[in-house]
Symmetry: C2
DNA sequence: CTGTTAGCGCTTTCAG
DNA sequence: CTGAAAGCGCTAACAG
């Protein structure tokens, strides 16, 4: 009969204590507060512990201390290329602090998100909520139960990190104006998205300031297909350049444009946002870089400092920059 | 002073018991084994519990039962577009079974992976290891401690799900042969990758069977840049079509080709693999679809059934299919 | 500096 | 069908 796999029973703190001839507390302290006991006692305990293959039981520690040693991050959709870098940053920060990262996917559904956050909140020390689709009420309710930090959602009183795309967007509008464009169109994403509102506002503001005409087309979804489908409407506005809600949408627009025989950037300019797949397109997309990994990392750091007692509810704003590549040129 | 946020202290089972006039055991059973007690008792306990806002403490349950209610998935790099769909599938399957998903990123480093798996193994009921870069010894060692299921790694005796790209690759070679190509080049990815070996083998086998010449170029990394950098070598082979280790590489190759003035597919055909970003490229990439989400889901299901007592060490092979899009055509 | 003694909140025999 | 009691493995006062 095959050997039983995956059944590793590890020794407990009591067994180590017995084998080392000390009390459980001493073993416990040897691991968590070494400087609290004699160096040689520590050494001895450790020696015995490693010999026995002892490893502290995370769950027991958690129950006893009330600290789970785990934080969660919930995103609307892991498959959306905006999030992986962000998750990666969060994961790295958590890991570095000795925390584990629980992942939740809200499936772009506020109701599901509400459930997921509730569930994950109960088994972690805190939550990072990225691009939440929930209402402020829902978010606040959760924040009352568990430490919560937001990414790309500006709720007063809660710690949050905001990726300020408006700086980058403004730069994009200036860039286009310098090239000679007089009429732009903003292709918007999800209506309920905070980022979308910010970007739209930024395009409008910069356009007004520079005396450009700016139209709008509501793609409503951030997908490749949505981009393709809305090129008709985009072209109908009469604009010579488009700024899309994000790269995914921009990519679709590029494809739709090329399908209609338009060559970019000679006949039409396109600017994306987020810089998640911009570098790997042809022609390479001019876009606003969002530094997603930084946002993820910062959010976790904010959360951990909150757990450490700093309840400042800091509002951290991350700047963005315009990356000019090959989809922008003077109008035809 | 601002109200204290994130400090939700929830009632314990004892408080509910007291309030309901029953014992802790009864409350416990009302939640975990309702059919074990009277329907009205259950109803009453539940009524009181909800009124008090009681929710079972996950950690305490875990300590008491020895079940964490959590599984982990560790991937080489979350930002690699192959993994998000896979993680998503895993997450969905775990969630559906009432489990939470802990995420580990190995950062493409076997040593780090070893550490991460060790750490995560201790706080979960089992682990899904995707495209592991560790040695079989390392993997086996971990499998002895914790239930483990592999994705894209074929270690006898361990439950595993393999994405059989060879079927799709063979179809790609046939497709190219039918178009009239007589000389192909396989552009390989990470040397230590099981998938890479499989794909190379499949190209070779199908090529031999169809009487085609097949060369090889070792890009070694699966990145856009690696693709761009190796077009020189690819062209030098004299082949008229390339099959790349994955889509990312193919995308780079496409860009490099176009930079040298080659137009695809008229002057050169390219086939990718994985179908992770193939649909959003222009021209849309002909590629082998890997169904990553299925793999993630299946792996978690295998893991859960293992936890349920089925120690069959099943080897599940998932088929792939060729998706013909716009980067393949008859040779010039 | 180290040992003793209570728990953390829940599950689970074992009685009744 | 329900209650009492003994832990799960670890931490944290409190003594000594």
């Amino acid at each position: 009969m095959a050997q039983q796999r995956g059944t590793g029973k590890s020794p407990t703190i009591s067994e180590v204590a017995a084998a080392a001839g000390v009390s459980k507390s001493t073993v416990s302290r040897a691991f968590s507060r070494p400087q609290m006991i004699t160096a040689e006692t520590v050494a001895h305990v450790m020696e015995v512990a490693t010999r026995l293959g002892y490893v502290p039981n995370h769950t027991a520690q958690a129950l006893s201390t009330g600290r789970a040693g785990t934080v969660a991050i919930v995103v609307p959709d892991i498959a959306n290329p905006f999030f992986p870098p962000l998750i990666r940053g969060a994961q790295a920060a958590a890991d570095q602090a000795g925390f584990s990262l629980l992942l939740g996917d809200a499936d772009e559904d506020p109701t599901r998100e509400d459930v997921v956050v509730g569930k994950l909140g109960r088994q972690t020390d805190g939550i990072v909520l990225a691009s939440s689709r929930m209402t402020e009420e829902q978010i606040s309710t959760h924040a009352e139960r568990r430490p919560l930090v937001l990414i790309n959602r500006d709720v007063a009183g809660l710690p949050r990190v905001l990726i300020d795309t408006s700086t980058g967007i403004a730069a994009a509008v200036e860039h286009l104006a310098e090239l000679g464009h007089r009429h732009l169109v903003y292709v918007s994403g999800p209506t309920s998205s905070w980022s979308n509102a910010e970007r739209r506002r930024a395009v409008r503001a910069a356009g007004r300031r520079l005396g450009l005409k700016v139209s709008a087309v509501a793609a409503r979804r951030s997908t490749y297909d949505a981009g393709v489908q809305h090129v008709g409407a985009i072209l109908d506005t009469g604009a010579s350049a488009a700024i899309a809600f994000d790269d995914l949408l921009a990519q679709g627009i590029l494809a739709g444009l090329s399908a209609r025989g338009f060559v970019v950037p000679e006949q039409f300019s396109v600017v994306g946002c987020d810089d998640v797949l911009a570098a790997t397109m042809s022609p390479p997309l001019t876009t606003v870089s969002a530094h997603g990994a930084d946002a993820g990392r910062t959010a976790v750091e904010l959360l951990l400092s909150y757990l450490g007692g700093d309840h400042t509810a800091e509002r951290r704003v991350l700047d963005t920059t315009l990356v000019v590549r090959a989809t922008t040129a003077p109008p035809a």
